[in-house]
Symmetry: C3
Subunit: 217 residues, 3 copies
């Protein structure tokens, strides 16, 4: 019954650290002190998984495995003191973040399936694990959140989770399904980054509607 | 012991869809893509009930009943593709939202009572169910939240929940109490919308106090 | 095994009221109505402890003890109607807040230890209890949150929690540890307030990096 049982701790740790680095990046952009780095790193690193575990009424993963929190704190400290040495931080962080997103999407979906929920809720858990940490980071860091920006991010997580669940239904080999799901999420995100892809946005019917938008409610 | 047991699933579904539509409205105002519509619709639709269930340590309602999430996703999709056909969206959505708010206030209060909490906490659960989804929607959509706007919204939910608990204490007929509670919340909200009611706001004693407000902390 | 068992309810109530007053202060600054005061007071008063309890999968403290919510509502009402009588509100509130922060840091850390978690997670629980209520207050009130401001606040809570855990490891007298921990947090915060202390902030290596910061991601 255990989906990806052995890989989950490794994925949890790796992706928490990657997400923590993106949190520390926002902290560096806002010129915060080291405790601000730590706070944003930990919230980004473990926020998505915490909400997932509380929704599923499972023990929260970092309370069971405090080394994940310590790893986030170390990541925050390292970024605080050495980040200025790293060139071209922007590209690097986006690629790492894409990899982390792909991994936790599958890990979150698998954890949902392990908890006995159906496919729809499991996919929701994958998307929540992948995006809630970043959303909390952006709300706390007062940046436009990943939902508001026109990028393929949540979409990539959603497609990866769906690909994982579908492959699992067809093949029942969970490692194959995990590789296909994670590759789907990662490649969609990387292609979107590289090619500047985005989904079509909602457009009001006429300009007058938009002009009235601000006072709509 | 079951308060409104049979009606709860219907109310949960109906009000989640209504709230989801208000989430999709914010997404349309922000010109998001369809995944942004879906995300805001689901968060607004199930956010309040999720927080209520986690606080009460009950199974989260949409994990037990995934069709609610699917209904929110369908609502988001329909709004994304057909909203421009609907005239006078502003009024419609406010009336629907008032009805949804009235329903979930009572459903949330009843769920609290079913869980064995006292009247004060049950009223708090009603208010949380009615308002947290909208608050999350406004924070994620970067709009002034319902708390900051000077409208009778949380107040209407509060009065409806109190009316429900009081009527229940007097009559013990929970359907009568539910009708009275929901009618109180709905009518207060609709009257406030129609007549432009609002509560008096806090005013600083002298203008110098206000002038200093920005640097106060 | 019970850490500070007898003192916890008193600390929970006292600090919830103090935090509630800081929530009501933000409501007064935003000229909200009395329900807005109540909402911000309750969220600030019980938000940190609620998140702590949900993360630890413990019963949420104010659901067990509704008088804490009532106390927050009373505090909101009193502030709404009498605040203009109080002179020099700024200083008073900062000192009260420092005391509340110090108390709940220790109470939150102790509750974590009681729940059987290790030192790192217990310290995290102390910091979460001390800061999440204020963070929710600032996000909902649309103010720069305590994380973004350059003050010793989370740092003081962190040091207090660490001092408590360390003293406990050395002396095993939990009252001595609580006094030392709370004093550490309180004095650090008060000294920071009095002397204008802050931690060094992250500085980009060269001005060109900063100039590009806004378009970084």
């Amino acid at each position: 019954m255990e989906h990806l049982g052995l890989l989950l701790p490794v994925v949890d740790l790796t992706s928490a650290v990657v997400f923590a680095v993106t949190g520390a990046l926002v902290a560096s952009r806002k010129s915060l002190d080291i405790v601000g780095f730590m706070w944003l790193a930990v919230v980004t690193g473990v926020g998505g998984g915490s909400v997932r575990d509380m929704l599923l009424d499972l023990p929260v993963f970092w309370i069971e495995t405090p080394s994940i929190v310590i790893a986030c704190l170390v990541a925050a400290t390292v970024v605080h003191f050495t980040w200025h040495l790293v060139e071209s931080r922007y590209r690097l962080i986006l690629w790492l973040d894409a990899a982390g997103m792909a991994l936790v999407t599958i890990a979150g979906t698998a954890k949902g399936l392990d908890a006995g929920v159906g496919a729809v809720v499991a996919v929701a858990m994958g998307v929540i694990t992948a995006s809630v940490g970043g959303i909390l980071r952006d709300v706390l860091g007062q940046e436009a959140s990943v939902i508001m920006r026109r990028e393929i991010y949540v979409t990539a997580a959603l497609c990866g989770a769906v690909a994982y669940v579908l492959t699992l239904a067809l093949s029942s080999d969970r490692y194959v399904a995990a590789v296909i799901g994670a590759a789907t999420a990662f490649m969609l995100r990387v292609l979107a980054l590289t090619l500047g892809w985005s989904l079509p946005v909602y457009r009001p019917r006429e300009s007058s509607t938009r002009a009235n938008g601000g006072s709509d409610r």
